[in-house]
Amino acid sequence: MTMAEGDLAVAELAFVRRTNIAPRPPPAAMTGAVGWLRENLLSTPFNVGLTIVIVLLLAWAVPELVKFLLIDAVWSGTDRDACLESVQHREIGACWPFVWERLPYFIYGSYPIPQRWRVDVFLAMLAIGVVWLLWLNAPRRDLGAIYFFVILPIASFILLTGWAAIGLQPVDTVLWGGVLVTIVVASVGIVVSLPIGILLALGRRSHMPAVRTLSVIFIEFVRGVPLVTVLFMAGVMLPLFVPEQLSPDKLVRALIGIAIFASAYMAEVVRAGLQAIPKGQYEGAMAVGLRYWQMMRLIILPQALKVTIPNIVNTYIGLFKDTTLVFIVGIFDLLRTIEVARIDPKWATPVTSTTGYAVAAIFYLVFCYGMSRYARAMEARLAKSDRR
């Protein structure tokens, strides 16, 4: 029996394809805006419901926010009168003149006004370091690392605390405040917690019982205690036991507290990453003759940290917001300066507090969202480099 070319005879038991099926474009409902809507927002009844709820929420919240922050906002004035309800202004939104006037305080705290350029220089140097290190295509990133981890900390310390010998008037850390303190505390926590966390995580998996026990005790103890307690112990109880002149500066104590706390959390995050690495990677590394530290540095940690990036950044974001707790030991971080400013009688109005908190919210949102976005970009880039 013969068959016409390309004709699929269903009854036929044997079949040989004689013509090639050319690819055709997908149906219109799968592509374009309609396709996108269908696939992303309306794919199941549950998604349809979710989409409706979210649209309603946005419809309610966004106009309110825009109204408060922009439309009803007061843009000029010199004291509280500008931001009070009056005949011309029936409803009052954000009180921006208050923020504008207190902005230097929010940024520098009580850092002496003639010396504030030093803070500006510090922030600029930090920004350069961060960009150099985080921009993956930047030139000479090895130099960038030296700059960030060696030069920057030393230079910043001298610049901010002062050194009379080179004409930099000493500034007591009691005077520091606002964004300066928030950035200093967060940077120290972020930079110190990763290496210490890695060491603790390796210690916890070590074959040496003493190392392992010490690591476990440290991690579990610090994780079992609230950050407020750690700060309180570092800030208030330490001076009771240590003689006055030996006891370090209040800010330094808080920095140590934050670093200890963040390191313990980071240790657990890194340990989770280490656990994701198959035994074969260790064996492969040992079989080619790598020593323990070489194996960790070249083979295990690069892979473990890569799968851990989302959790590391998550910890960093938590840490960044936790820095607000340093107020408990009398340190004026950004949130604390806003707290102080909002009860200033000169600006006492019904909207002052809300405005102040909005500024804090925007500040933290920008930084935390920035970290989150960077992590996503990095993940995507690393995922591309070894698609398995």
């Binding site: 990677q281 492969g284 079989a287 080619v288 003759g289 070489q294 070249l298 398995r388």
Partner: protein
């Protein structure tokens, strides 16, 4: 399954270079209470090719992993190229520099390119300059016939290609002894041959090899001796012709009847 016999004459007798490459004497190993290796005695001369076979769980992997101290033995002695393996880290490093290993699941480093996989140990263990290391790596990648893949990542290669990279990676260190732990059993059938061919060539070049495998065609063609293990013991060891033609032990006969259908 068998390897096509198109590799010229069979390799025998082995070109022995009199020196003992590996000597295992009265070696025992336990996992907790489980006596996994019992009174192992095995002497491998330089240039010999030992194929180790036996049922699953018989301790084949454990035994060859003791040779580069991926596993620790509890009694008896192991000498590798004259160096005794003890807890001494220096000795372990020394042995690992002389012994290359190829694993069932390749164990390539997925975050490094093929080239970097090969040069890593040269640079960090042999302290070779990067440029020179790359020349060495390229030489061995050519030898396993995949120089064109040098800049890819392991995840972009087929299983057979990955295993050949793993062989090249081990060869780069210029080892005196190569250990293979079921190098083809994770591969799709069509890739087995390319890996076995590479190993046959290695055997032709006189490499001392200990190979755990169930590829009896390969064993017949290449092995200078076949070692059969069961329940943590060496049950029988013989030259291939005798081993296949006249197995002595009941368990060997049973094993062969199951594996050679």
């Amino acid at each position: 399954m068998s390897v096509a016999g198109n590799h010229g004459p069979l390799l025998k007798p082995a070109k022995l270079n009199t020196a003992t490459a590996v000597e295992i004497a009265d070696m025992n190993k336990w996992y907790g209470d489980f006596h996994v290796l019992r009174d192992i005695n095995l002497k491998v001369m330089g240039g010999e090719r030992i194929v180790i076979c036996g049922p699953s769980g018989s301790g084949k992997s454990t035994m060859i992993r003791c040779i580069n101290r991926l596993e620790e033995h509890q009694s008896g002695r192991i000498f590798v190229d004259g160096v005794e393996l003890t807890a001494d880290l220096k000795k372990i490093d020394e042995v690992r520099r002389e012994v290359g290993m190829v694993f069932q699941h390749f164990n390539l480093f997925p975050h490094l390119t093929v080239m970097d996989n090969c040069t890593l140990a040269l640079i960090w263990v042999r302290k070779m300059p990067k440029k020179q290391a790359e020349e060495v790596a390229l030489h061995y990648l050519e030898r396993v016939k995949i120089p064109e893949q040098a800049n890819k990542y392991p995840g972009q290669l087929s299983g057979g290609q990955q295993q050949r990279v793993a062989i090249a990676r081990a060869l780069c260190m210029n080892p005196k002894i190569m250990l293979f732990d079921e190098p083809t059993s994770a591969l799709d059938p069509e890739m087995v041959k390319e890996v076995l061919d590479t190993m046959v060539e290695l055997a032709h070049d006189g490499m001392t090899m200990l190979v755990v495998t169930h590829e009896m065609g390969f064993a017949r063609q290449v092995a200078s001796r076949i070692v059969f293990m069961d329940e943590g013991q060496i049950v029988e060891a013989n030259v291939p012709e005798e081993f296949f033609a006249h197995p002595q032990h009941e368990r060997t006969k049973l094993f062969l009847s199951q594996i050679l259908r």
